[in-house]
Amino acid sequence: MEDQEIIRLYQQRDPNAIQETASKYGAYCKAIAKNIVGNEEDAEECVNDAYWRAWNSIPPNRPRVLSAYLGKITRNLSFDRFRSKCAHKRGGAEVELALEELEECVSGIEDVEQTLDKQELIGVIDAFLDTLPREKCRLFLCRYWYALPVSEIALRFGMTETNVSVTLHRIRGKLKQYLMERGYQP
């Protein structure tokens, strides 16, 4: 079913909206969740929660790109779950490695003032991604948005794993520089 038709089902409060969403985007959402939470059970729960979050948010929202909208909800829910579990135990989730890599870009110190500028910071990161060539932007998001394993990215982009790692390292360096030039002490 076309995305517009699925969105129409949500707007008409037709429960088939969830069934159609699951049928079309279930695998997509689950892959995102699994990379973040690291196991099937949690991933499944995050995806089910994401369907209900979508049900409760459309309307009033009308997603421009349904896949990304659902993906974003799933990612947020999965990351929340990952963090809540972190206090007890870690291991198995690809996102841990991605976070370790991102550590290079940040100081690790909480800055209350910067937290207040969240929307502005998102805009800066968006603008930074606009400066990247398309393929590098995709590569960066595959790793740090979708938390895809480096081996998977290498397959998808026809690159070696070393090449992917080096490219990501350079992009992280550029991101850090970009943030600092704009007055953010990451």
Binding site: E2, D3, Q4, S23, K24, Y25, G26, A27, Y28, A31, I32, K34, N35, P63, R64, V65, S67, A68, G71, K72, R75, N76, F79, R83, V95, L99, E100, L102, E103, C105, V106, G108, I109, E110, D111, Q114, T115, K118, L121, I122, I125, D126, L129, R134, E135, C137, R138, L141, C142, Y144, W145, Y146, L148, E152, L155, R156, G158, Y184, Q185, P186
Partner: protein
Amino acid sequence: MKKEYLFELIGQVDERKIAMAGMEMPVKNSTCPAWVWWASAAACLAVVAIAAGSVLWKPIHWQGFASWDQPSEGIIDHQTDRTNHAFQPATDEIHISMGNISINEVEELPDAARIWYDPALYDSVVWDEGDVMTYYGKDLTPGYIPHGLTASPQNPAATVVTDKNGAYVLDTVWLGFYHDYYEDGSPKHTEQVAAKKGFHIMVSKVGQLSDCIYILPEQEVKTSGIGGTEVTFGYRSMPYGPYDPDTHQPSGYYDMYVAEFACDGIEYQIVAEQMQAEEVVKVVASMICGEEVVVDG
């Protein structure tokens, strides 16, 4: 700033960028519905029967060149892929037999007539990637791009035209994938053959694509079924220069393939130069099925 916070911030970037990161494989999986699996199984059995009967199998049905059978579903087999590709369906890989692909000889591929739109009646709008994504609802980049080809720096090139009510009268988008580019972004000719190497895709919802003219009458042009979509493949042997000043003979000829199909309300036309037929079929199939397919000779 903490790494978790940075990860959270990255999570809030523009949704169009997220979709463009190429994460639509499972989404596109739905364009190859369950019946394809059954059809594949049946077709697979048919292939086994043919092999058992030692029937000679012509590799490609050259429509207009040689005799051919009735075209059938090009996807013939799904084989289990056990690698855990997070964003690919970790189920089966799709196989296509070139034996089921019909290729029609092309007479001419004229450039689409460039219509002049009176600014008093129409508005021109330059689209960026995000606009293209929003309008077409998907990343138009094929799931498979042959080794050695890269995306044009001009991708996606689109200047669309709307009437004063905002209705689109021209919505054609162009994407190129070639072996190399000149500084201005146009595709380079290869050293051996004075022609481009690679392919471009034209898409439109309102149907403003070039008319590919085939040698056979329109009703006799054969299509090939891929993932439930009928695709018209065309071929032309193209001359390239320099031309002999006395005999006017070209330096040689290269292969040009055309593929035309409509999927999800979008018309596609792919023109491939200096590419193998199998590669063209793989590109087309990856656009229809949303994932890389295996083409069996």
